[in-house]
């Protein structure tokens, strides 16, 4: 695994005791992390809203006091996340939990709503795959595990670089065979 300086480092979720409200966006097994963090905090559970991408899991049993809103896909959960962030007031703590590509996308949404990175908590659960943007057509690919890859939007061969954009929530994919079309380096797992 390469050491990428710009790659976000995520920790463990911890309830912010002073927060008046808690807004959580989680995907799949990320709900386990939410249940662990909020399990012993009845007051925080009562003031929390969890937006879940994917079906609820057994972890929901640890969140009896919390409103968990299950959405059929990541895209629909993000639509709800946008709407909740728009209405949220200062004093609302924001938490994210899920795969790396989920955290990449969700943190970019939170930052676009003015949430400061230092105030944004995330916990990584599940796949360590990257979200990648093709710098040529600007198309985004979720859950990229190898490099080089073919851009799913414009079809060029992309090398996934260790260069992360917080604004986009994505790594940079740059054409790898511009000078010798079709000549590709050996594929590597990211």
């Amino acid at each position: 695994m390469s050491e990428v300086k710009s790659r976000p480092k995520w920790g463990r979720l911890a309830v912010v005791p002073e927060a008046a409200a808690h807004l959580v966006c989680a995907e799949g097994v990320g709900l386990d992390a939410v249940a662990e963090a909020f399990g012993d905090h009845d007051a925080a559970q009562a003031a929390a809203t969890v937006l879940l991408a994917g079906p609820t899991t057994a972890a929901q049993a640890g969140l009896t006091g919390t409103r968990v809103l299950s959405h059929p896909s990541r895209a629909t959960a993000f639509t709800a996340f946008h709407a909740h962030l728009d209405r949220a007031k200062m004093g609302t703590a924001i938490y994210l939990a899920g795969s790396e590509s989920f955290l990449n996308a969700a943190s970019a949404i939170a930052e676009a709503h003015g949430v400061v990175r230092e105030a944004l908590q995330g916990e990584h659960r599940g796949a360590r795959t990257r979200r990648v943007q093709c710098v040529h057509c600007k198309g985004i690919m979720e859950a990229v595990a190898v490099s080089p890859i073919v851009c799913s939007h414009c079809g060029v061969h992309l090398m996934v670089r260790d260069h992360y954009s917080r604004r986009l929530g994505a790594f940079m994919g740059v054409v790898v065979d511009a000078e010798a079309p079709g000549v590709l380096p050996q594929a590597l797992r990211l």
Binding site: V16, E18, A19, A20, A21, L85, A88, K89, M90, G91, T92, A93, I94, E111, H113, G114, V115, V116, R117, E118, A119
Partner: protein, 319 residues
């Protein structure tokens, strides 16, 4: 390395209130001074004839576009002579030396909304920030607490410029700025900036933290003038020089008096530039800065020489 300095001439000096004097400063060589960002300050060297006093002042709104700089100087009763000199003896046409501006209190350009809070002379950086945000077309509100209607000069200007975005609290009329009333219902992504008396800053920050505001969204400017204390001996280990730090001078000023150069920038305990390793302290370090953490203070390995002192006999510094 010597920091960049400007020699300036006082082109205008006027009393905006009985206690505040506004100075407009132009470069002595006629060149235009560079533009500054709101929240920036400069350190003014004031040669009173007996000694050189260096005070940090916020650059006010007219400085933003550069050319000339303006500062507003409050006459403080506990002054070590700097503000008294500016009020009583400084005349239009006189020369001063300024450090190149630095900014430890900038506007966060990604904020969705800005809440600006000022008390008294703390309005100087805050009004510049309001002007900068206003020019950007961003959303803000300005809360300004003043002691009395005498402080009205700034109030009238601000009201004319910012209209309903200015919320004025006049102590004389029993109006109190209650920050708890301002904090609720601010949109996520709001940043709060406060400048004023230390007690006010502490109260505003404590209330905001209690309401769940993250530290990253809270910004304060706290310059402390180096207050005096008991004299003590100072030995500079590397320079092999000793000096007595007088009752009304700072460690940094004593060091400069004997011609030793030490790194520094804000001279107000805010920036951290003058952090100095303590070799030995025969006494208790009297930390007065806002830079070192509580743990660093307790460790006693470093001291901010622009404002902090020793309560005791002798301080040995790695300088």
């Amino acid at each position: 390395m010597r920091a960049l300095q400007y020699t300036v001439r006082v082109s205008e000096a006027e009393a905006v209130t009985p206690r505040v004097r506004r100075l407009r400063l132009v470069a002595a060589d006629g060149t235009a001074l560079p533009p500054v960002s709101a929240g920036a300050h400069t350190v003014v060297s004031i040669d009173t004839g007996e000694r050189v006093i260096r005070n940090a002042y916020s650059l006010t709104a007219p400085s933003l576009s550069g050319g000339a700089y303006e500062i507003a100087v409050l006459r403080t009763p506990e002054s070590r002579g700097g503000s008294a000199f500016i009020h009583e003896r400084l005349r239009e046409g006189d020369s001063l030396t300024l450090s190149a501006p630095a900014n430890f209190f900038p506007v966060n350009r990604r904020a969705r909304h800005h809440v600006l809070v000022a008390g008294g002379i703390g309005i100087t950086p805050i009004a510049a920030m309001a002007e900068e945000i206003f020019r950007l077309g961003a959303s803000f509100e300005l809360h300004y607490a003043v002691r009395s209607a005498h402080d009205g000069a700034f109030c009238r200007e601000l009201a004319a410029r910012f209209g309903g975005r200015l919320h004025l609290y006049c102590g004389e009329r029993q109006e109190r700025l209650q920050v708890q009333a301002v904090l609720p219902n601010q949109p996520l992504g709001t940043h709060l900036y406060v400048c004023g008396p230390e007690r006010m800053i502490e109260a505003v920050l404590a209330d905001a933290r209690a309401a769940g505001w993250p530290n990253a969204n809270l910004h304060a400017e706290r310059f402390v003038a180096p207050a005096g204390g008991e004299p003590f001996s100072l030995f500079l280990r590397r320079s092999q020089r000793s000096v007595t730090v007088g009752a009304d001078e700072s460690v940094l000023e004593a060091i400069e008096r004997i011609g030793v150069e030490a790194p520094h920038l804000c001279r107000g305990g805010a920036c951290g530039e003058c952090i100095t390793a303590v070799s030995h302290a025969d006494g208790t370090l009297d930390h007065r800065d806002h830079f070192l953490s509580a743990a660093e203070r307790d460790a006693g390995e470093h001291v901010m020489i622009c404002v902090s002192r020793l309560k005791g006999r002798e301080l040995v510094l790695d300088l």
